[in-house]
Each structure stands twice: as structure tokens, then as C-alpha cells.
Symmetry: C2
Subunit: 460 residues, 2 copies
């Protein structure tokens, strides 16, 4: 179907959309520690999560079952953009003069323009099946909110998105996408919830934060029987749904008779990273592949969770309301500098990804903002696609690998995840091109201060 | 490869990218009248065009040869996004309750997000081959400028884009795309050209216009040996390059064993329309297909060139500098109301498309703005993709056809062209959703006034 070596774009027919999601918990040599209830410090029972999530998702969250069948209505929505293309970056290779073969898996062809709909569609489906008619969620710049609004519409769910006020006012485009798909967007903090009103009483001009928006969305969902809450990363079931990415990439590599030596993806909460990497880690854990790929998580130097954080129990949110998760964290009170890769500005990380890094199965690598944009512009000028700032961290990782191959004079096969396009991030490119983009030092003092606030978990 | 009937997305491997462009001049029952030199009123000789265009493109402009081979370096760039998907709009069909089968050919997966790179890549290639190192062009909101900047970068050409000042200031996103790809953007009117300086002397605060920007781009190209000018629509060679769209669609229909009864595309200068429709008209002219498709050009009621214009010789630009073209026109002095479908705000139309309408081979249909956005939102909420306002005119046409099929109780196969995404047009959706979008009456008086200025061509 495609000529090995010569192909630019390796495509699959929609019959090749994966039929099941892969659960890496079944194959990890050592499983992650369980989450803990913030009061009792005991693992939460499924019932504790039932006010927020449908039972199907709670089961996927805790199960050790290796595969979950993808329901046909979910695969049917996936058909709108899946399988996504795997590209061979011939032009970037030539520009770098590298002996490496560089491939990228491009998730920007989804209606929302990123990998996020892989899980938003699944979550909307399971909620609908459980009789839920409304969803709430939070969003920063709007990537997750728009992905969930698209999915909610496909299953006739209403949706309310609490959008951080400063983004609501300064970045209207993803808000308009949410509204075009029929979703409701509320500037957070709002007067619709007790949490919001409390903040506004203290500071009527509060710019909001992701932590506040989470509190509002959770409060509303917990208080209404018809309404559930939906989260776009970090949790096990979210990473599970994203594994369609890596599974497709494996089929595409088989078509051209190649296999990656190294797999690189950007990592914020971990869902994009897990989606691409876990199927390749499965190959490694089971010896089920021509070679064992090295796996790299790329993160921003300004929010270096995996490379500079501590591995400990911490809250998932800023306010300290969520279950405690064992993960790499910079402290739940840490507020990262305002880099443009908003999706990577998270103090913690997926417990599964954290454990894989802890045990040496995954390498983490941090990159500074200016170098990341330099790589992104080189990529845009050779391959055409303008990457999202988050995805640009993986571009940077791939360029570094390709230059190392050149310096060593040894070819290798590099796969990276291009998780989305940068159509709504052009202001950041503008700053870079005008030399106005800045790097941030490792925020050592802020991290130290935040880590001093870690919750105490006896025996952990 | 795909299951007939069940498929959502009919994809082709890149080996199926067409190997030649189709020239409808070879098959038209009656050819269009030739362009005329504005001074002599005689057809221009190829040499007259040589200061602006390379000989390969001039030959394609005037030739009656049925096919032109697509050079391999052009096909190689096409591989970055071609073949584009043909979608079956199952969800839109269900929402409309229509017995019709609706298909759409989606060109928004190109790096620039529209069909425009199909010709910009070809034009950049031929200019490079002719030893040209710089290109100039004009752009309004930036669709064409960004497509040409992407293409210029692929063939190491410099590019300067004269961008209408009001767009330069109010719509920065496509300007930033051009710059990200390495192009230079100049606010027009500028002090770089005599035409620009003349305008600024009269009115230092001139908001600019497409006509002024064309004058500046042409003036610079005509005055420099290393520099040519590039145009994004209207001309025969531009429509020729776009025929990869319709040729791919034909292969995709063959894969699922279907064929359109009606083909609908939006029409501004005519390149998107011609690209999709001409291969199907070829089938009709040669009897080379299971049936003869009806072909519809969708245009805005606010700029109803094909439905309310006159068929006459007129200038292609506002200033009256270009050759005279026999076409439907609202008068070169006509300034269309400020609808959001900027790409359809053109007083004239392709001479080939005009002749096909004149001779009854193509039907033209005009739609008002509010109804067009209503269809676009219904499309976005069912199919996911948010259409460009231009493309939304074809969506509206398809919806009307599907509702007619429902009213008549007769199934039919509808194909429409979704020429681009609306990621940079969300402000227009915002206005629609808030009830602030307005329709414009047919601007009868303005048209009457403009038509009084038509150039006099003896005997035409």
C-alpha cells in the first residue's frame, strides 16, 4: 500500500482503528501505589468516586485487565478523524543532515485539533450510557474544554465548562469553539458555585486558576444527580483511552518495515505521553517486538515535574480536595511560570508515568522555551505543520536525538508524537520571531516552598 | 479497503495522488473568449505576460492540451497532505432526516488549512525552475498569502506579501502563519512602491484594498528580474492545478461504488469550484461516467457575481490595470459588503467558470450570510469540523439539496467541497451565535453604478 522508505505519510483505512484500549497496569513489572482518600489516608472505594464518574470509568481506573474493548459507538465517532497519519519527516531529516529516520504521529487532524478527543469521546459515551445528561469540566486555554464539548455534542449531553477567567478574556478562540459545538462556557471564578463565590468575596477581580475552576466543576457535579465531572489527563482511564495512538503507530511501522529505537512524547498530565508510549512499552515488557525502544518524556524546564520533582503522595489539585496520588510533584501549591505550553504547566503527573520514570523504564528530559520554539519553527518550515507549543517539546527532543545520531554517525529510527496544531498559539510564535520570548530559570525557591507543604502520609 | 455504505472517511494511499492536472479547455463544447490587452484590445502575446509569470505557467494558461503531467517535486510536496479524505456525512444526514447520501471532500488538512496550496506549490515550483528567487503577491485576510508562503519555503524562494492594511491590523493570525513560514508581510498601501506612495499621499490613513495590494505586488514584480508575481485564483492555470481535488474524489467514489448526482462548491474567483467540479464535467462532456452530475456554484447573495452580474469584458482588478477578461462581473468598481466569507468577495469570476454558467453547464445559486452560518453550525455540531465561511456556502447548498430530496422522497448522492477549516474565523461564529450577524440586501444601486463603468470592447 505504501512504499517502504519512500512514503511521506503512512495512512490506514478506518477498518484499522484499534478495537481495544491497552492497560499498561497489566504489564508493569511493579505497579504504582494506590491513590489515598485525603481524610482517611486509605485507598478510596469505588463508591467514593461514584458522585463524579460513571461505574464503567471507575472500573477502568482501577482494573488490572490488559485490554478493554472499545465500544462501537466510540469507534464510530473516532472514524471522523482516526486513524491519524504517521509521517516520515523527510524534509526535517534533510535540513538536519541526519542519518536518523524521523517519524511523527500527528493527532492534530481531530476536530478539536489535538489528541484530547480520544478520551473525551469515550468519557461522554460512558456517561451517557449511565443515564447522565450533563457534564462539567474545567479548562485553561481551552484544549480540553473544546475536546469535551465536541464529544458531548456527539452523545447529546449538555456541558458546562468552567474556564479560567484570564484565558476566558484573553484567549477567546477555543471558548468560541466550545460555543460553536453547543457547550456553555462560564468564566471562573463564577457566582454559580459556593467555591467561586468564596473566591470572589475575597477578591472580586480574581483572575482565576485551574485549581479554582476544578473546584467549581467538581462542586457542581457532586451536587447534581444528572451531572458528572470529566477530567482530561492524569487518571489511569484517561491514559488508557489514549493508547489508540501508539497502537496505530505500531501498525503503521509494520507497513513500512521499520520500528522505533526511541519514542518521544511531551508530558504534562501524561495522557499524550502514555497514549503514544504505552503500546511500545508493552512490546518491551513482553519482548514482543524486533527491538526494545527507549522511551523519553519531554517536559518544560519551567515546570520540570519528572526531572526535578520529588516522588511522593500529593494532591492532584491546588486546593487540596482530590485524592492523594503517588507521583512526581513540584508541590500542589507550585504555580509554574507563564510559558506558552499551557498543557504542560502541571505540578504533578500521572501516577503510572511517574512510577515508570521512578523505575527507570522511561527517561525524562526538560527543555527550555526558546529552544523549543526554535525547533518548532524549523519543523514548520520543513514539514509545513505549525506545532502546538506542547507538542513542540517532542519536536525538540526528536531534533536533539537526530543531531546526536549525526554526531555519532549512527542511524536510528526516531518516533515522536505531534499531539496537536498551533493554530491558536500563533501569538507565541509572534513573540519568538520578534525575539521577545523568554526562558525561565528552574524555579528552585518556589518549588522548595511548595514541597514544604506536601501532605504527610504515614508509612509512604 | 473501505466498506461501501458503512465508511465514514474514504482515504487513499499517497500513491494515488493524481499524476496529471486536467485542463477543461480541451473539452468545453464552446471555449471562452480570450483575454484582451487593456490598451490594444487584442489578445496579449505570451511575451506580454513574461515580466510577471514563468513560461511554463503562461503555456498552461493558454493551452488546449487536455492533461499536464504534475512534476514529481510538486507531487512530493502534495504528499504532506494529499490525498485528502472524502467523508460520508452520516451524522449530518441523520440530523436532516434525508434519504440523500451526502459526501464532502475536505481540503482543510493542508498546512495552510485550505485548497490554496494545490496551486501555490505548483506556482512556486515553476518559478524556481525558471530561475526566479522571489515572489510577490497580495492577500486580504491571508488565506492565499499563507498558502504561497508555505509553498515558497518548500522551494527556497523569498516571498513578500502585500496584505490589506485593515486585515494586517485586525486579523493578525494568518500574517503570523506567513511569518512563521519565513515570509515577509507588508501592510498595504506601503511606501515600498509608487502605487502605494501615491495612495498614501492622498490619504495617509487609507485602510487599503485588495485592488491596491495587487497594484503594489505587480509593480514590484514587473520592476525586478529576480521577482515574479503569483495569483491565487481566477486564471486558467490556477484552476488547472486545483483539479487534483475532483480527480481524487472520483477515485474515492469508485472505491465505494457510488457517483454524485449533484456536485456543489463555493465560488469566488473560481479555483475551488473548478478544482472539484471540472473532472466531473469532463465525465459529463465525454459521457465517461455512470451518470451526468448536475454542477452547482454557490456564491454569497451579497456578492452575486454569477447570479446577478452581467457577462462582459471587464478588468480583473479594481484599478483597471489587468488584461480584460470576458466573465460575469458586478463591475470592477464594485466593493462588496463586508461579509465574513472574504474569499468570495470578488466582483468577477474565472472566465472558464463564467462561460460554463453562460452556456448552462453549471448552475449558480446565491445564499445569504445568516442562513449560511446556520448550516455551518449544524455541520460543525454533527460532523465536528468547523467550516471556513467560504466553504459554508457549499454546506448550505448541500443542506438545501438534502432537504429537497427529503421533501420529494427521492434519494440522491450529493458531493460538496469543504475547501477549508474556520479556525481563523471564529469571531464570525461568535457574531452568529450572539445574533449579531446580518444579511445584506442585493446591492442593486452599487452594482448598477459599477456596471456603468464597464470598459468598451468593440464587437464583444
Amino acid at each position: 500500500m505504501t512504499q517502504p522508505g519512500a512514503a511521506t505519510k503512512i495512512v490506514l483505512p478506518e477498518s484499522e482503528i484499534p478495537t481495544r484500549w491497552y492497560n499498561i497496569l497489566a504489564d508493569m513489572p511493579s505497579p504504582p501505589d494506590p491513590p489515598l482518600h485525603p481524610g482517611t489516608k486509605q485507598p478510596p472505594a469505588p463508591e467514593d468516586l461514584a458522585p463524579l464518574f460513571p461505574m464503567d470509568l471507575i472500573e477502568q481506573e482501577v482494573s488490572g485487565q490488559r485490554y478493554f474493548d472499545i465500544p462501537e459507538p466510540v469507534r464510530d465517532v473516532y472514524r471522523l478523524w482516526r486513524p491519524t497519519p504517521l509521517y516520515r519527516a523527510h524534509r526535517l531529516e534533510r535540513a538536519l543532515g541526519t542519518p536518523a529516520r524521523i517519524y511523527y504521529k500527528y493527532e492534530g487532524t481531530s476536530p478539536a485539533g489535538s489528541h484530547k478527543p480520544n478520551t473525551s469521546v469515550a468519557q461522554a459515551y460512558y456517561n451517557r450510557r449511565a443515564g447522565i445528561t450533563r457534564l462539567t469540566t474545567e479548562t485553561g486555554a481551552g484544549q480540553w474544554g473544546s475536546a469535551l464539548a465536541f464529544a458531548a455534542r456527539q452523545f447529546d449531553l449538555e456541558i458546562r465548562v468552567y474556564m479560567v477567567k484570564v484565558s476566558y478574556e484573553q484567549k477567546p478562540y477555543r471558548r468560541l469553539m466550545i460555543e460553536t459545538w453547543g457547550g456553555e462556557v462560564v468564566s471562573s471564578p463564577s457566582r454559580l458555585t459556593a467555591s467561586g463565590r468564596r473566591i470572589l468575596e475575597d477578591d472580586p477581580d480574581s483572575p482565576g486558576s485551574l485549581g479554582i475552576a476544578i473546584s467549581e466543576a467538581v462542586e457542581e457535579a457532586a451536587g447534581r444527580k444528572d451531572t458528572n465531572y470529566s477530567l482530561g489527563s492524569v487518571l489511569n482511564h484517561v491514559l488508557l483511552h489514549q493508547t489508540v495512538i501508539g497502537q496505530e503507530a505500531q501498525k503503521q511501522f509494520a507497513l513500512v518495515g521499520d520500528y522505533p529505537d526511541v519514542v518521544i512524547a511531551c508530558c504534562g498530565g501524561g495522557s499524550n505521553f502514555g497514549g503514544l508510549a504505552f503500546p511500545f512499552l508493552h512490546d518491551r515488557f513482553t519482548g514482543n517486538a524486533p527491538k526494545a525502544a527507549r522511551v523519553v518524556a519531554a517536559e518544560p524546564a519551567a515546570c520540570p515535574t519528572l526531572t526535578r520533582g520529588v516522588y511522593a503522595y500529593d494532591f492532584g489539585d491546588t486546593a487540596g480536595l482530590t485524592p492523594l496520588m503517588k507521583m512526581y510533584t513540584l508541590g500542589h501549591g507550585f504555580i509554574p511560570p507563564g510559558i506558552h505550553a499551557g498543557g504542560l504547566r502541571y505540578h504533578g503527573d500521572s501516577p503510572i508515568v511517574s512510577k515508570l520514570v521512578r523505575d527507570g523504564h522511561v527517561q525524562a528530559q526538560a527543555y527550555s522555551q526558546v529552544g523549543v520554539f526554535e525547533a518548532a519553527v524549523q519543523f514548520a518550515r520543513t514539514e509545513g505543520i505549525i506545532p502546538a507549543p506542547e507538542s513542540a517539546h517532542a519536536v525538540k527532543g526528536a531534533v536533539e536525538e537526530a543531531l546526536a545520531a549525526k554526531a555519532e554517525g549512527t542511524p536510528r529510527t526516531i518516533l515522536f508524537g505531534l499531539s496537536g496544531h498551533g493554530h491558536f498559539d500563533l501569538a507565541a510564535y509572534d513573540q519568538y520571531l520578534r525575539g521577545r520570548l523568554q526562558d525561565y530559570e528552574y524555579p528552585a525557591e518556589m518549588v522548595e516552598k511548595a514541597l514544604a507543604d506536601l501532605p504527610v502520609v504515614p508509612g509512604a
